[in-house]
C-alpha cells in the first residue's frame, strides 16, 4: 500500500489479510488463492503488508477492551491515512470488527467479506468457475461461521459462491441461523477448552461428516480419484467430499476435527476462495 500511495494512486479495494491469512500456513494458501482471483479479474487492490496489525478482535471478545482499542486506533490511523474507502477480507472476525466496531472509533469503511466479494464477481460474470478443476458430482457442505452468519446475517453469499461449482451441495442439520460454532470464536482459538464431554469442533465435524456421508452412492465411485489439479499438494485425494469454510478459525477447527476422525483421505476442508481459484484454474 505504501508503494501505491507513493505513486499517488489509490486502490479500488484494500485486501485486509488478517493475522491468520498472513501467518497461518494453511490460511496463507487462502490468501494466495484470493490474490490470484483479484489479479485474474483485474481488480486494483492493495494490501497493507507490514503496516497491518491485529484488528483487536480476540482481545475484545476476551474482555480486553483497552488492548482492542489500542489496536483499532492504530489501524484506523493507517487506513484513514491512505484514504481507504473499501476493505475486503477473508476473515469474518476482521470483517465484523472493522465493519461494526471501528465506526465508533472513527473508522468508517465499506467492509466486504470475501464471500460477498466473490459473489459480486460471479454476478458480474467476471468469475465463471470454468477451465480448472471440476467439482461435478462431489459433495460440499458449507459450515457457517458465527461471525459471518449470526453476527452479520450473511448466509446466502457463500452458498451462491458454491453454487457455481456445479457440485452437490448438502446442508448440515444445524445451518444458517441455527449453525453450530466451530469452537474457536470468542478468543477460544488461543486457549484450551474448559473441561467438558467433548470438544466443540469434534461435535461439529461429526455433524459435517454425517451430512457428507448421508448418501454413500454419490461418494461411491468418486473416492480414490487422483486429482491432477495443479498447485494442490501431490498425493492428496481430491475426489472426496469437501467441508467449505469462509473463516480461518473454522478452517483450523474443522481440519483438526477431520484429522481426529481420520477422514483426511476422503474429506477435505477448503475455503471458498480456494475452491473458486481451483475451478478457475488459477492454482499457479
Amino acid at each position: 500500500m505504501a508503494d501505491l500511495a507513493a505513486r499517488g494512486e489509490t486502490p479500488e479495494v484494500l485486501f485486509w489479510v488478517g493475522c491468520a491469512g498472513a501467518f497461518d500456513d494453511r490460511y496463507k494458501r487462502v490468501t494466495r488463492a484470493f490474490v490470484r482471483i483479484l489479479e485474474h479479474v483485474g481488480v486494483k487492490y492493495a494490501v497493507l503488508g507490514m503496516e497491518e496489525t491485529c484488528t483487536g478482535d480476540p482481545a475484545k471478545r476476551a474482555g480486553n477492551e483497552f488492548l482492542f482499542q489500542m489496536q483499532a486506533m492504530q489501524n484506523i490511523t493507517t487506513l484513514n491515512g491512505y484514504g481507504i474507502k473499501t476493505v475486503v477480507t477473508a476473515c469474518p472476525h476482521c470483517f465484523n470488527t472493522i465493519k461494526n466496531e471501528y465506526p465508533a472509533l472513527g473508522g468508517e469503511y465499506e467492509v466486504i467479506h470475501h464471500s460477498t466479494f466473490l459473489q459480486q464477481l460471479i454476478n458480474q460474470g467476471r468469475v465463471k468457475a470454468e477451465g480448472g478443476e471440476s467439482f461435478k458430482g462431489r459433495r460440499i457442505t458449507f459450515h457457517d461461521s458465527c461471525y459471518l452468519g449470526r453476527a452479520n446475517n450473511i448466509y446466502e453469499a457463500p452458498r451462491a459462491v458454491l453454487e457455481v461449482l456445479d457440485a452437490d451441495l448438502v446442508e448440515m442439520k444445524r445451518c444458517k441461523t441455527n449453525g453450530l460454532c466451530c469452537g474457536a470464536g470468542g478468543a477460544q482459538m488461543w486457549k484450551e477448552p474448559e473441561p467438558g464431554k467433548k470438544d466443540i469442533n469434534i461435535e461439529r465435524t461429526e455433524e459435517a461428516l454425517a451430512t457428507l456421508d448421508g448418501n454413500a452412492e454419490v461418494l461411491g465411485n468418486l473416492t480414490g480419484v487422483e486429482s491432477t489439479a495443479p498447485g494442490l499438494p501431490a498425493g492428496s485425494n481430491h475426489g472426496g467430499s469437501i467441508i467449505a469454510v469462509g473463516c480461518p478459525f473454522c478452517m483450523t477447527m474443522m481440519a483438526d476435527g477431520v484429522k481426529n476422525k481420520e477422514r483426511e483421505q476422503d474429506v477435505q476442508v477448503f475455503d471458498l476462495a480456494e475452491l473458486i481459484a481451483s475451478a478457475e484454474g488459477l492454482n499457479a
Binding site: D3, P11, V17, C19, A22, F23, D24, R32, V35, E39, A46, V47, G49, M50, E52, T53, C54, A59, R61, A62, G63, N64, E65, F66, L67, Q69, M70, Q71, Q74, N96, N100, E101, L105, C146, Y147, R150, A151, N152, T177, N178, L180, C181, G183, G185, A187, Q188, W190, K191, E192, P193, E194, P195, G196, K197, K198, I200, I202, E203, R204, A284
Partner: protein, 461 residues
C-alpha cells in the same frame, strides 16, 4: 343493579389485588433501574415493528413448531379470555350480570370463542405438563433448574387449569340455571352445554355454583397476577418491553467502552481533551465506575430487564455449543443468576421470596460468610462458565424474547481482565503477543508479508 355486600367485598378484593401488584411491580422497576444507564431512545418505529413481530407475533417461537403451536393457543387464550375479565370487573363493581350481553351475536361470538379457547388451553397445558414431567424434554432440566424453578413451572400449569375449570363451572352452572327456569342466557356455550349434565338439577345450588365459579375465576386471576413477580411467568408482561428495548445493531457488534476510548485517544494524541469527569451536586468527583461488571449494578438496565423477561425455557442453553459439549456454561443460568442476585442485593420482595424455597436454592454457608466475594461474579457465576463462551450468538438468536446473555458474559469477562487481570494464562499470552507483535501469535511483524514470497505477482502493491 343492586349493590350488596358482595359488591363492596369485590371492590376490596380487586383494589387489594391490583394494589399489591403495583407495589410488587414498583420493586422490580427499582431493581432494574439499579443497572447502568444506557440510552435506548429513538428508532421508535423500528422498535415497535420488532415488538409487533417478535412479542405480539411470536415470530421467534416458530423455530420449534410443536411448542410454538401449543404456546400460541395459551397466548391467544390468555388475551381473548381476559376480555371477559372486563365484564367480570363491571359486573363485580356494579352488581350487574353479564353486562356485555346486550351485544347479542357479538357477545355470543366472544363467549363461544372463550369456551373453545378455554378447552384448547386445558389441552395445551396438559401437553406442556406432559413434555415437562413425562417426556422430559432435555432443556427443562439442568443444574440451574433448582427447587423453585422446577416447582414454579408446574404451579403455573396447575393454576391455568384451575382458572379454566372455574370459567367452565361458572358458565355451565349459569346456563343450567337459566335452562331450568326456562329462560335464555346471553352468549354461546359450545363446551359448557355438554357439562351441564354433571351439575345438580337444583336452581339454588346452581346459583351458588355459578357464584363459586365466578369468584374463583376472578380471585384466581388476581392471585395469579400477584404470583407473577415471583415467577418465570412474569415474562407474559416483561416480554413486551424487553423486545422493545432489544438491540437493533448487528449481533456481532459488541458495545464500545467510551471511558477507554478517551484514555486511548489521550495516549495517542497528547492534545486530546478528555471530557471532565462528572461531579456530584456538592462538587465532589463521582466515584469511577469499574470496567465491566462484577455485580448486577454494573450491568446495563437492559441486561437486568432481560433477567425479568426470562421464562427459563432453556432454548439458549440447548443451542449453546459450550453447554452441548458438556461445559459448565449455561446462558440461561447467567440470566437466572442475575435475577436471583438482584433480589438478594436489592428488593426481595415480593409476596413470595423464591430464594427461600428449597434447600438447593440456598447458598453455600461459606459463600455467605464471604461478603466481599458474594457478588454476581464468583458468588453466582464462576469464571469457568464465562471462559467457556465462544461468543457465537446462538443463545441470542434462540431467545424468543430477545434476551442477550452474551452481553452480560462479555461485561463480566471485561471485569475479570481489566480489573482483576484474571484471564486464563494462555489468553494473557495472546494479549502480550498482540501488544508486542501485532498478532495474537508469536510471529514477527516483519514476517507479515511472507505469504506473498512464493506467489507470482506483477508487483507487490
Amino acid at each position: 343493579m343492586h349493590f350488596s355486600i358482595q359488591n363492596i367485598l369485590f371492590l376490596l378484593v380487586a383494589v387489594a389485588g391490583f394494589g399489591l401488584f403495583a407495589w410488587q411491580a414498583r420493586k422490580i422497576r427499582a431493581n432494574i433501574l439499579v443497572g447502568r444507564d444506557r440510552d435506548m431512545s429513538g428508532h421508535v418505529n423500528e422498535r415497535l415493528w420488532k415488538t409487533l413481530l417478535v412479542a405480539f407475533g411470536q415470530q421467534k417461537m416458530f423455530k420449534r413448531l410443536t411448542p410454538a403451536f401449543l404456546h400460541l393457543i395459551v397466548y391467544i387464550g390468555f388475551i381473548v379470555i381476559n376480555i371477559e375479565v372486563i365484564e367480570i370487573l363491571i359486573d363485580g363493581i356494579f352488581g350487574t350480570h353479564r353486562v356485555l350481553g346486550f351485544m347479542g351475536p357479538l357477545y355470543s361470538a366472544l363467549t363461544g370463542t372463550n369456551e373453545v379457547l378455554g378447552a384448547l388451553v386445558v389441552l395445551a397445558v396438559t401437553a406442556f405438563w406432559w413434555r415437562r414431567n413425562v417426556q422430559g424434554v432435555r432443556r427443562f432440566s439442568g443444574p440451574e433448574m433448582r427447587a423453585w424453578p422446577k416447582l414454579d413451572a408446574n404451579v403455573i400449569l396447575y393454576i391455568e387449569v384451575v382458572l379454566m375449570v372455574a370459567l367452565f363451572l361458572m358458565n355451565s352452572a349459569d346456563l343450567k340455571a337459566h335452562q331450568l327456569e326456562g329462560k335464555d342466557l346471553d352468549g354461546a356455550f359450545p363446551i359448557s352445554q355438554f357439562l351441564t349434565g354433571l351439575l345438580p338439577d337444583n336452581v339454588s345450588s346452581l346459583v351458588v355454583l355459578e357464584r363459586v365459579g365466578w369468584w374463583a375465576h376472578i380471585v384466581g386471576i388476581l392471585l395469579f397476577l400477584n404470583y407473577l413477580p415471583s415467577s418465570k411467568h412474569f415474562h407474559i408482561i416483561m416480554a413486551f418491553p424487553n423486545v422493545y428495548f432489544s438491540r437493533l445493531v448487528p449481533q456481532g457488534q459488541f458495545s464500545n467502552v467510551d471511558s477507554i476510548t478517551h484514555e486511548v485517544k489521550a495516549m495517542m494524541d497528547p492534545t486530546y481533551q478528555v471530557p471532565t469527569p462528572a461531579t456530584n451536586p456538592d462538587g465532589s468527583a463521582v466515584a469511577p465506575t469499574p470496567f465491566g461488571a462484577k455485580d448486577v449494578n454494573d450491568l446495563a438496565w437492559t441486561n437486568l430487564l432481560n433477567a425479568y423477561s426470562c421464562t427459563e425455557c432453556g432454548r439458549c442453553t440447548s443451542v449453546c455449543p459450550a453447554n452441548l459439549t458438556g461445559k459448565l456454561l449455561s446462558p440461561r443460568k447467567i440470566i437466572m443468576d442475575t435475577r436471583d442476585r438482584m433480589e438478594e442485593k436489592y428488593n426481595s420482595p415480593l409476596v413470595f421470596d423464591p430464594a427461600l424455597y428449597g434447600k438447593e436454592a440456598k447458598h453455600d454457608p461459606q459463600e455467605q460468610l464471604d461478603k466481599e466475594n458474594h457478588t454476581l461474579l464468583r458468588g453466582y457465576v464462576t469464571p469457568e462458565e464465562l471462559w467457556a463462551c465462544t461468543t457465537c450468538n446462538a443463545c441470542v438468536e434462540a431467545c424468543p424474547v430477545n434476551i442477550n446473555p452474551l452481553e452480560s458474559i462479555v461485561e463480566m469477562r471485561r471485569f475479570l481482565v481489566l480489573e482483576e487481570s484474571a484471564a486464563p494464562n494462555s489468553l494473557n499470552v495472546m494479549f502480550s503477543n498482540i501488544e508486542n507483535n501485532g498478532a495474537p501469535w508469536a510471529f514477527s511483524p516483519s514476517d507479515r508479508f511472507n505469504w506473498a514470497d512464493d506467489l507470482y505477482m506483477a508487483e507487490k502493491a
